[in-house]
Structures are given as structure tokens and as C-alpha cells.
Amino acid sequence: MREILRVDMSTLQVTREPLPEKWARYGGRALTSAIVYSEVPAGADPLGPENKLVIAPGLLGGTSAPNGGRLSVGAKSPLTGGIKEANSGGTAAHALGKMGIAAIIIEGAPADKTALYALRLFPDGTVDVVRRHDLAGLGAYETVAVAKGIEASEHRMSDKSSFLVIGPSGEMKMKSAGIAVTDPLGHPNRYAGRGGLGAVMGSKGLKLIAIFEEGLKPKQHADKDAFIAAVRKFSGALTTHAVTSQALPTFGTNVLANIINEAGGYPTRNFSSGQFEGVDGISGETMREITVERGGNVKHGCHTGCVIQCSRYYVDEDGHYMTKGPEYESAWSLGANCGIDDMDMVAKLDRKCGEIGIDTIEAGVMLGVYMASGEIAFGDGEAALKALDEIGRGTELGKVLGDGAEATGVKFGVKNIPVVKHQGLPAYDPRPIQGIGVTYATSTMGADHTAGYTITSNVLAVGGTVDPLKPEGQAALSQGLQIATAMLDAMGLCIFVAFAVLDMPEALEAIHEMAAAHTGDDWDVDALMQLGKETLAYERIFNEHAGFTAADDRLPAFFLEEKLPPHDVVFTVTDEELDSVYSFVPEVAEQLGIE
């Protein structure tokens, strides 16, 4: 029986309760969203004691399911004002899964607003909350280093340890603050980045969560032989599909830079062009060449059980670790969107974001807006580094920049602010790639590419093809992918498995076979999609209660009015089509008995 671990930061009491039967089929995002819907008042102050930070491994967390170690972190978002699930790699999800923990709910807030704590989970099941003022103001990497030192002195450290930490931006409750999660080597370089959840953690007075899993075994399965067979089937698909077996492990996610640029959808200089003349310098191919030459690692998984291995480390000229190989989104946001074509500068900016503890997408979109204001120039990496330093120091300027793209654009009078539901747009312009515009506009998360990754069919010819330049078929494409993605997030699977799942029927079968063999419950394709729909229903209704209407499911006007070169197109999907994406919610809500 999985359990909920409830941590009350007002009293520092930790209690355990069985996972309610009604959520027995939920994990990951399904669980974080159901809990936030059920326990957080929609009108709550996101940084007040009524909000709750919910941390959940997927249903397959703690098992050997390939790519099954993703972590969901949920709350009401201080950035969007709606529900949020930020998804991260790293080793924490499997550790929690092995402990039998379905979710950690962190609620309340310390009466002493300056108090700073660490939450620690030990393999024998004990949990404590301890004061950690020595960590105040430290960057994410230093926080982990100091915490490891303390734990080592108390003989608790081992290689089997995971940390979730916030940087100074989270302590200062900035809206672009994320939560860093350590990877298999203990680097805090994986992020539940989006939506300001680091600020929610900071508002709870929590700097650090440490999870020690030494000696814990993977979870038992209802039918071990069937589970192993399903794992082999799934793994076979992932290691066969060209994307998941070749492109991603060789070049990482940033292999996308050239193809999105070629398609004319690579947002450049605050979304003013769809092609960047300096793309080669910040592409996945260039990153690989530089890293190989310097002797850096160019292929590993961000969590144990990953068979895709798209992670890599970026190293300096002397071969020393700088940061993770910047992901496609980060290389774009801190590169092309700022007019920066130098991979070393992108890596410096990425590392700086990692230290301060802010979302690299929001940071790069903010910098693009800041540059568009004329305060600093496009292409000026040193000025961008200084701007990030302002955030880390919490200066008056830094507090504006740290609240993200919209706050910065309003402050400096920028006309084109690329946000939906107050969250910065990721690395695909919605004018020449219309399907992703539907996802940005309608997602419960605010502008989010992962929520319904239509780039598959729009650009990459994965899962069929839908012409990216035309409005036809985009709403249906986005709806299907939003449902499927919510399901993958609930299972705890990496969304990159979708590239294989969309093209190979046996991969989708393997997911419900793993779920059934692990839990002993009945699972099939319909049940998987129902799980996705239920997750979205909780989120959509929470957002309605929080005040969102159809008017919030729209792109900023400039995407409908200003043509983007080189295709010279605007976004043309109609409001009616956008409003059709969540047409399934009333029926599902009625089934769930929620309103």
C-alpha cells in the first residue's frame, strides 16, 4: 500500500496516511493535480500557508520500468495563478517510489518567516525536519555540497542519496524560481523548473529535501514475470526507434536547434524572427563537437533506468564540469532568443541560472524581453550574466527580473511579451508551427511545450504529419497529445518515450502491460487515456475556480497580428477551435464527481 507523507511546516510535524482508495490508480502528475485540486483553495495565496507543495513519483516510480523515474512537483503556481505540475528527472522519484511514498504533501508555513529547514527521509522510514540556517542564501550547487558534508559527518551519506534544493531565488520567493533535483552523480542540474515552484518551497521555509535510499530494493510486482516481459517490450521499442536510439543519445535534445531553425520556427531575439543566423554555434551538433574535444561526457541518463541517455555534461576548456549539456530549450532561450551564438556563453548563463535556482526557459524569455526594452543589447552575454547576478543578489532590479518575462516587460514597457497565463513561451514560434500555439494557448500550465508536443507531427514527422503552417487539424492534434502527455506524467515516464509510442503500437501496449503487471489492476489503452483525461479535468476545473476563462486560453495579440519571417505568417487557429480542446472535461468531471 502506497502512503502519503504529510509535512506540516507550521508545527514541523510529519504524519503518514494511506493513499486514498479513489487515487489508487494515480501517480505523478495525476496525483499532484488531484491533491492540489482537493486540498488547496483555488483562491489561495500561492506563497501563503494555504498552498501545498506536492511531490510525487509516477505510478511506475521505484520499479525498473525503462525511463520510469520522472518526478512530478505540484502546487498552485505563483507565476500563473493556476495549477502547476513541473516535471523533473534526477534520482529522487525512484527513491521515493522504493520507500512506498505516493506523494509528499508539504503544507503550512513556519511562523518565523526567516527560518530555514531541511526535510530528511531515511531508508528505515524515519523522517525529520531540521533547521539549516547554514544553507541560507547559498546557490543550488553549494547547498548540495554543504548538505553532503553535514550528512557525511553524521555517517548518513552514501552514493544512494537524492537532494531537492532551492537557490536564493526560491528563498526570495521569486516567480521564476524552480526546484533543482540531483542527478546520478549528485549534481543539482535537473529541474522542476516551471511556474515558480521554488518560491512555493521557499515560502514553506524549506531549503532542502534529502532522500537516503541505501539498501532499499525496487518495489515488488503483482506479476513479476509479466512485468519483466513488458519491460523488455518497452525497452525494445525505445532502443529501436531512430529518435530514441540514435538522435537523442548522440546529440541530446539540442539536436532540435537546426531542424526547428530550418522550419522557420526558431524564435529569435524575443520572437521577432523564425530563423537565427548563429544557430550553428549553439546547436546540438556543435555542443557535441566541443564536449568531445574537451573530454566531457556526451551520453548518460538523468535517472537510473533510462535507456534513451540524452543527458550530457558541458565542460570548460580545461575539461571541468560547468553544467549539464544545456537542453534544447535552454540553449535556445539563453542563446537564439537573446541573439547569443556562443555555446560557452550559453553554458555560463545556464550554470548561473542553475546556481540562482531559476527556470532557464523563463530566464531566457525574460532576458529576451529585457533586451527588447533596450536596457541591454541583444547578443550581449556579459550584460545578461550581470542581469542574472541582480536576481541572485535580490536587488530592486533583480526582484523584477526574477519574477519573469511578464513582470520585466511590464516594468520596462515592452510591447511584445511572449507569455500565456503569465508564463513565458518555449522554443517554438506558434506562427509557423501552429499546433504548438494551440498547446501554449490552452494548456492548464500556461505556455508549455511539453504539455502537448505537436512538434512531433508538425515538424518531425513522428506520429504522422500535420502541416505546421495551416490551422487545420491542430486543435485535435494538441488535444490528443495533451491527454497522452498527462498519462505519461502520471506513470512517471519520460515524455521522450512518446516518440516511440506514437510510431510503434507495441510501445503503448507495453505501458499498460507494465502498469497491470506491477499493480495487479486492469489496464488497457482506454484506461491509460482515461487517466490522462482525469488528470486534465482536475487541472482545468481548478483553473476555472481560480478565475481562468476562455479569454486566458489565447496567445498574445502580436502572434495574430505581426507576420514572422521567413514564412511571413501569423497564428490563424480560431478561438472556436481553441475552445474545443477541453470539450471532454464536463463528461470526465461528472464521472469523477467533481465540479
Binding site: 540514435q246 548522440t250 530550418e262 530563423q275 546540438g284 551538433e285 537542453e327
Partner: protein, 79 residues
């Protein structure tokens, strides 16, 4: 006619000058040359490809025109 050909990811090693890299090479082709003809000439591996002519998806049977930019990718994805 003259066509710029650019190859990405592991296809970049198939440029006939043997230098690899992703910079466009200019080729002279007969009128009526199709994308499939270019793929055969380059000897690209027989696997799915994503092809753009002047930043728009193009089928392999499409005839090229003077001044076109032809970009060919192996299956890639990320996010």
C-alpha cells in the same frame, strides 16, 4: 541549375567532399533533378528522413529548382 544542399546530425558525414559539417554546399544539377535523385547521389542511409526545401517540408519526388536550399535531416526530436 544550382542548389544549396545542407545535411544535419549524422547525415552531415555524407557530403561528397568528405569534410562533414553542416555548412551548405552548392551543387550543379540537371533540370528536372528530384530530391530522391540527390539522396541517391549522396548515398544517404535508407531510413526515414525529414526534408525541407526553402524551409517548407517537401516530398522526395519533388523537382528542385534553381536557387533552392535543400535541407535533409535523419529522424530527430527532443524538447
Amino acid at each position: 541549375m544550382r542548389v544549396d544542399v545542407v545535411l544535419f546530425a549524422h547525415f552531415s558525414g555524407f557530403q561528397p567532399d568528405g569534410k562533414g559539417g553542416r555548412h551548405a554546399r552548392a551543387f550543379e544539377f540537371e533540370e528536372g533533378t528530384t530530391i530522391a535523385d540527390v539522396i541517391a547521389m549522396l548515398g544517404l542511409p535508407d531510413e526515414p528522413r525529414v526534408i525541407f526545401v526553402n524551409s517548407t517540408h517537401a516530398p522526395e519526388e519533388q523537382e528542385l529548382r534553381d536557387g533552392d536550399r535543400l535541407a535533409i535531416f535523419p529522424p530527430v526530436a527532443g524538447g
